[in-house]
Symmetry: C2
């Protein structure tokens, strides 16, 4: 961040009076430019004991497999965002069931929310964002080719929960702040 998006003045990194963190402040117009964590929302879509996975056709992690998910947008709910991202990445029209996994990922300033969902119709397929979209059984999942640790954890927790019959919402933290400093 270099310039004020209000007045185009040069930004200065300083701790404002009464604040506890450095912020980008415009000394011309006084605007303080806060940055905050982003919410990623997506779906674990179940159909006939299979899960809908997509092969990423975009960076980062192009060519690896993931659950459909992406940044929550202004003026939508986290569940609406999960269904929207699922449609954009897989063409699947889904109904949201309930929140399955919530992860804090502080080293990248993200929150991840994965909802359980099911297909309204059997239609799905590749998109600009996904080169392949496939319903997979547990044994078909390419565990060594999962794009993100949070997705691997979510899938592993899902299958472990299924075995105990307890599919309640799971809260977790993936914390690599000490590693990335």
């Amino acid at each position: 961040m270099n310039y004020c998006n209000q007045c185009s003045g040069k930004l200065t990194l300083l701790t404002p009076n009464g604040d506890h963190r450095q912020r980008y402040v415009c000394l011309d117009c006084g605007n303080i430019h806060y940055t905050n964590p982003k919410v990623v929302t997506g779906c674990l879509v179940e159909h006939n004991n299979k899960i809908l996975l997509c092969k990423r056709n975009i960076e980062p992690r192009k060519g690896l497999w993931t659950l459909p998910a992406g940044f929550m947008e202004d003026h939508e709910t986290s569940a609406e965002g999960a269904a929207r991202e699922t449609y954009e990445e897989t063409l699947a029209d889904v109904s949201i069931d309930e929140l399955f996994a919530f992860y804090d990922i502080p080293h990248i300033s993200q929150i991840y929310m994965i909802y359980r969902a099911h297909l309204k119709t059997e239609h799905y397929g590749p998109t600009a964002e996904s080169s392949e979209v496939v319903l997979m059984t547990e044994s078909e999942i390419p565990w060594s080719e999962i794009a993100f640790p949070v997705i691997e954890k979510t899938l592993k927790h899902f299958y472990a929960s299924k075995k105990t019959g307890k599919l309640k919402t799971h809260f977790g933290i993936i914390d690599r702040r000490n590693e990335v400093k």
Copy 2:
């Protein structure tokens, strides 16, 4: 948003190729300036069957009562943010128990997360942000002077849950998108 925070070029509101929403785009350097929902995180602090409430000393809703809560910061977890905000607004040093309430509030592009917590010590008091900080029983809560609908809903849900003995995480939506359009 008027100017690019990377190069200070004038921003143009348009829908980028492959996107589905209007964004502020810098036609000089190509940067797309996304905006996303913010996470508000705070605590419902219980002590001797009372709840810690604070009277707002800052706008908006100055003079009305609320639970300690504020915007989650980069590089912290939602629970760490809840404890930090509680300390900043009430001087109370708390231990987080579990997530009690999660609300989507799409008309203001916010997510609210309220954690149950308890005092580590009996110390708390007014701050720059709170003119009064008080432990209140249910009957002492000034229901007509609560600062935000999400806080009133959280408190009402808390007392209703206590009566049934089921204090599990509550998921809700406060949706006034049709009213504010």
